[in-house]
Symmetry: D2
Subunit: 326 residues, 4 copies
């Protein structure tokens, strides 16, 4: 048994982490009470968020399900106290402080931690995690987009550009009440936001090698609780069929426990991935005009947040990567 | 007062036509009972769907809110009986029988009517309606896409392709029960269908002059009752800003009563157009990378079906185009 | 033309009032900007909420779509400035300060205004409105319950008690964001609150003459935007059939423009009343066991708030009661 | 390992059974293909629905997630083939053929099986299951109502009557498409049906000893996928407080693994029980007027169908009652 703490356990991702942690089997879970965030009495131990408490309690790992500025404030102390840290915020996702400043419009206050951090979608970066203390968990949109694009980047016509039309459930906007998440504003509605300029674009570029001019992205709010579906459009002059592309996905992901490839011409929906850590991918291709569409679906709170974070914590602490997630 | 009949008044588009007809002010509405479709007793006159009945009653116009095969069967008789016909099905939308056969996978049984018919999105084709007896009302998806693209086609980089990611409410799938429209299959879900090969693509190509290889389209099912939102991606090397594009829309549509252009950088949502005949359009453009996004929203049952059909009937019968619709 | 002002025009009821006011035909509408609530630029005149402004502008009437404490603060000044006031809050609904204190848990700060105010569900109290300056618009739940119970109170077995199980859409909770109205907390959920002790109970008792021990009420939150449906259970030893009861409703409400009685054994749903000022009522009765159920449905924002307020303003200003509402 | 078959695995309850069966740990699951219902290729064995096949395969148990007439047709053969049968339909729920005829409006074709069958909500009837071959699984509404009422029946004022206002998600209406379950008819709506005369009333009377004249029940359709919440109103002259009642529930259900009692004055909602086998119960009581409300919530597909059926199968086959369900 190892000990892990969760900061931000009341948010939607944090609550999902608590559930996954409870059924993990190898973890003792501590709810770390940040400021006036009191833990509900549900049989889990609680503790403070101080680095001293982490050292005293001897935590092996800490999840930060917190805003970037809180993650920057807390991460260093936990590392010093000997814990591995998996951060779910955007604080350590972009490789350099310049890049962070460009996309988050704020100065990065912990450049040394940023330099130390490793960014990990396990299916793409798992080899880089062992030995690292600070793991940056990817954003929800970039997880689906990067997994869908990684096998394609070498065959697509990059100059023709890639379009990623992304749709997310409301839990992606967080649990903090706002007019944006008010039921009456969301039900029977559908809204596009952050068109072309979403922060998550930077991650996709970083993960795929695409240039900004080659990648158009729109985030949109679906009237559903959870789930992300991305419809990605591309051209590929040298590809002949959807079967050929599906074969490339199979080659790349055939052994991945959390990726399921649909048969050629079929695409996933949200229901199939709800409350799972799966990323489902399907591809359609018109061999005559060389246009293709790949659809990727995940649960934004699981594979897009808490589930993937547990994959990363498992890698960091030496558990099987799938523990607690199947 | 003119007399109009509605075939298919029980479907969602037909029921919307009944409502619009009742508040029109210049129309006496007859519910035409097709086969075993009995009219509810709601104070409107009923009649049979025979051509003789149309002649006897002296109908000035008939709306066909019916499947293509029923429209082909009924339209000719009504024209012979002296009525103008506005057909909401796909029967007369594509200019030639070959094109119909290609996209609808069936032979067209009324080639002479097809040759006579005029296709009309009034904002693009209203000059062609006067004097015509058979008006083909456009599909819901092509209405939004064509209105959004018409002002753009001369400035976009056609070889880079246009992507139209379309989302529709469930009423677009019709009132006939099926597993696809079952509440439990739709709620908390989002599904892509007819990827790249939707019948409506043919109409957009016809309306915009784009070639098939230049236009990628995906239809998707939103968990809402009504509304279509289309997110359209393009490149335009010679454009400098969203303001420039918004200006082009204003020039084209400034006097249109049913088109509202958002200020540059702002885009519409579904709520704003629900239960109206408006098409709302907004455009975002990145002058640095020359990539743009235009978002168009309509109510699929109104501007995408019954409302536009009334615009067309108004044109055909000599009423002001907006009567019954504001 | 008369001049009316609306305070609280940004809330859901206030926004509904703006829409009704715009299509009324006899009203010039002013948006009265309370504190930092700026009016959107939509072609309507704006003004301040001061009593001086009301006098200067010569307003004939003011709607207060505000919390009770704001209504108490503003109403007196507007009356002094010569305007009629229709208040949509709970401030003036209960006849005495003692009653107000008991149900609202706060002292009433304007007992003289309270004594002057007239409470009006027009179908029950319209004779009392003419000549009054301050009209208290009923709560949403009591509107449906009182209209459903008024024709029944003399035939039901009072000692057996009446149960009113009420369900409301989320707009009833107001536009202010809170966890209660967060989409993710509401969708796929259903929640009971204020069981037995809801403030609105006092109004129903006042309107029907039932005693507290005879009336059990539960308010519940439906995952819909708008609408209230109340399922009301009673016993009536001397009644023989649903038809007999439906006849009593017809006798009472047969000439009411906003009440529709279903045929015996049929009950209404929310869709039928959405965005209308109707109250639909249907009754089921088991003559053998003498148990009955009456179901009443309204749109909480229209007949339950803004629509009924306009009925009352029409009465106060001398317009036909239905103007702007059909 | 024991072998069980599932007839009707495509329906919502059947599909839920498949999921529970797969994670049970002690069961080998066979999908039994009824008529033209082909099993999807998902790694589970398939077989025919003939009694010979059941004998040949040596099934230990069969779940019938089928309509009553199919259950009557199939059950006898399976018992003869040596399998225990848990039937999820209404075929064997009412003790006598007369009662069945009265509530189901059809003659019971298998009176001997009916006489043999045991009806089991395990928390109320588990002692009667061992040794029985045919177990009748309760209806969804009666499960919640009976569990909520069982501890109360001796303290409530029966002559004052009990009101059960029940709300169910759409999956309770089954997977077969109909206008009733069409998304556009359900979303933003709420509908009452089978007022006072629902078939499930008979079960509640049977389970609680209440007489028909003492129990008023209304079933209503919520715009949610899954979940039942029942708001039950009663009077109890000799009760003093909610705490006293909560204590009675604790006494009765304190050791039940699938029943959770809320603290006095608090009530459950649907989210808390979604996708679980729990029945959550909370009680409110006004000691002054002696009126009470108990709210019970279950997932209609789990505790209201498949989960409870697995409890019963576990009892029949000798597994721990909770296996596969926690």
């Amino acid at each position: 048994m190892k000990k892990i703490g969760i900061v931000g356990f009341r948010g939607y991702s944090g609550a999902e982490l608590v559930q996954i942690g409870k059924r993990h089997g190898g973890l003792e879970v501590f709810l770390m009470e940040h400021r006036d965030e009191k833990a509900p009495a549900k049989g889990l131990a609680t503790m403070s968020t101080s680095a001293e408490a982490v050292a005293e309690q001897g935590l092996d790992g800490v999840f930060l399900a917190t805003p970037p500025e809180v993650s920057m404030e807390l991460a260093g102390g936990y590392l010093a106290a000997g814990a591995k840290v998996v951060d779910l915020s955007g604080a350590f996702r972009l490789g350099t402080g310049e890049n962070y400043q460009r996309w988050y419009k704020e100065e990065h206050t912990q450049p040394e931690l940023l330099a130390e951090a490793v960014y990990s979608i396990p299916e793409l970066h798992r080899d880089q995690v062992p030995g690292k203390r600070l793991i940056s968990n990817p954003g929800c949109y970039p997880t689906a987009a990067s997994l869908a694009l990684a096998p394609l980047v070498d065959v697509i016509d990059r100059q023709a550009g890639v379009v990623c039309d992304a749709k997310s459930g409301v839990s992606g906007a967080g649990r903090k009440p706002s007019l944006t998440t008010h039921f009456c504003e969301v039900t029977e509605n559908f809204t596009a936001y952050s068109i072309l300029y979403h922060r998550h674009v930077a991650e996709v570029l970083q993960n795929t090698g695409l240039r900004e001019a080659e990648f158009s992205f729109t985030a949109q709010l679906l009237p559903v609780h959870r789930g992300i579906l991305e419809t990605i459009y591309f051209r590929a002059s040298d590809v002949k069929s959807a079967a050929e592309l599906a074969g490339m996905y199979e080659t790349r992901y055939g052994n991945e426990p959390f990726i399921r490839i649909h048969e050629p011409g079929k695409v996933p929906d949200l229901t199939a991935v709800a409350r799972t850590n799966f990323c489902d991918i399907g591809v359609v291709f018109d061999g005559r005009t060389k246009r293709g569409v790949v659809v990727a679906a995940i649960d934004n709170l699981v594979k897009g947040a808490a589930g993937q974070a547990m994959q990363n914590m498992n890698l960091a602490l030496g558990f099987p990567e799938t523990q607690g997630l199947l």
